[in-house]
Amino acid sequence: MFFQQLINGLSLGALYGLIAVGYTVVYGIVKLINFAHGEIFMSGAFGALTVYLLMGSPAHVSTLFGLCVMLPLMMIGGIIAAVGIALLMERLAYRPLRDAPRLAPLISAIGVSISLQEIFRLFYGRIPGFPDAHAAIRFPDVAGISGVSVRIGGVDVQMSAIFTLAALAVCTAFLWFFINRTRSGRAMIATSQDPATASLMGIDVDRVIMIAFALGAALAAVAGVAHGLRYSNIDFRMGFTAGLKAFTAAVLGGIGNINGAVVGGLVLGVVEAMATTYIPGQFGGSAWKDVWAFVILILVLVFRPQGLLGSKVVDRA
């Protein structure tokens, strides 16, 4: 039972972690909490669904085709949709407010969030051959993952959980490589520490910001596909709760810290899973899992406001 819940918690946490990275990367560079990031995650899921529909909704395909053709194409579709929308959002809603008071882009972000939800709700179904998006839409089954589980050491592990954890591992490794081993990554670190000085080193700060948004969006899109595979349906509101949880994870780990976002996500997922099972009586069960997740957040904010992995030293000491 414990291991079952641990696996559940970790895979849920991996989902949170993938989304949380987007909050933290963008915050690290522009000091903006992008409250529309949950909708980027939602766009990723819809992008993947769109690719499936454009492929002619293939059913009953082989595992090989599912894993090697369908899934990669759906992920690419999701990433293109999410990154495209994120860049558009940055250009239209955030960049004009770059030098405005901090509250202005925050409100703009909330506006973008609501707009994106409504755009998908109202217009997705208008495209010929696409399902109505007013309610939940069934996410396509991918042969080899959907509904398949393997038994590891007496515990049933859903393939979708393995997919999510693997996706987190691959994305984190890629991100680490990008930030620590490439020229653009170094430019990102420099910009997060001091944008004005970074620009004097010839770093195009606008481009670094676009890269940050694109990276966050790509990971959110992967999370969107993972979410679809895990719950078998998606809807235009899915970004709200997931976004809030991922934001919690980012704060939990220490906002601005990429490793922190991953750790925060995993911790949050495991706490939720364990609380569901081990808290007895009235306050247990899945109805209360969100409460326990946010209780953890409050405790961390009170006793360790810099987050689990955040350092006490402020950048500009």
Binding site: T182, I189, M201, G202
Partner: protein, 287 residues
């Protein structure tokens, strides 16, 4: 700006051609004119000093040159081309600067700081770095070698892996210079490079600036230490309340009584520092 003396022509013959030509640069903040129609030229291979009491607009003028501010009017021409008011483009054109209050990337190592400086001279773009790994590695290796060379040049070879914020003050200043040199500038702008230094460190900084000039760079330096300025600079421009008061050789500027007046007001205490009291005196003498 007719107050400028005519020694510029002499220096132009002595040194190379005109590198930086700031024409009538003006910076207004609301009603305050921080920099008013400043003309300033720097020729290649030349060290030019910029002096003036606190609040004279020296740093604001630097900010106008480097694109951190967009001048209200006037233009900055560098190596025959108009400099756009965008810091990244200014850096690429070949102008680098240091700051009065040191602005290093505190949480990076000494080496990493210099590597960031090389950003604008390397070419791998975001995707290149991931996909063309061999070439990326070679470029990275070249950068490291060059960065080590620069750190040796400023005397920080023993502190390569120290975090910038853990370096002693004097070393931080040197690192800022090394990072600026890493952008491969033709013109280096130094904002009070010896502020807070003891006489020994000041002397070392002076030697470092001479060695930088010998590399073929032009240097424009803001400084309050007059001994430092007059021993270092080929020409000196004195800025008072946003305007050029006088431009000339060190001796000429030193002898100009308006400069003395601007700094210490009435000649009653020659050692008085250029502090806040100077500003009060300004109003009395200049109005």
């Amino acid at each position: 700006m007719s107050t400028a003396t005519t020694t510029r022509d002499l220096s132009a013959i002595e040194h190379g051609q005109m590198l930086l030509d700031a024409r009538q640069v003006t910076m207004r903040f609301g009603g305050l004119v921080a920099v008013n129609k400043v003309d300033l030229q720097v020729h290649s291979g030349e060290i030019v000093g910029l002096i003036g009491p606190n609040g004279a607009g020296k740093t604001t003028f630097f900010n106008c040159l480097t694109g951190m501010y967009r001048p209200t009017s006037g233009e900055v021409v560098f190596a025959g081309k108009l400099l756009p008011p965008r810091p990244a483009k200014v850096a690429r054109a070949g102008v680098a600067r240091t700051f009065q209050n040191i602005r290093l990337f505190q949480n990076m190592t000494t080496l990493e700081n210099v590597l960031v400086g090389m950003y604008c001279r390397t070419h791998a773009n975001a995707l290149d770095a991931v996909f063309r790994t061999p070439r990326h590695h070679r470029e990275e290796a070249d950068c490291r070698a060059r960065a080590m060379e620069l750190l040796g040049f400023v005397g920080l070879a023993d502190h390569v892996d120290d975090l910038a914020r853990s370096l002693p003050y004097g070393h931080q200043r040197r690192l800022e210079i090394a990072r600026a040199l890493a952008t491969e500038p033709k013109l280096l702008l130094l904002d009070e490079p010896t502020a807070g230094m003891n006489p020994q460190e000041t002397k070392e900084a002076e030697e470092l600036i001479f060695r930088i000039r010998d590399l073929g760079l032009a240097v424009l330096v803001i400084e309050h230490d007059m001994r430092f300025i007059f021993s270092l600079c080929d020409r000196v421009t004195c800025l008072v309340r946003g305007e050029v008061l006088v431009t000339g050789t060190g001796a000429q500027v030193q002898a100009d009584e308006r400069v003395v007046e601007a700094y210490i007001g009435a000649p009653f205490e020659p050692e008085a520092p250029a502090g806040t009291q100077t500003r009060e005196d300004d109003h009395g003498t200049d109005a």
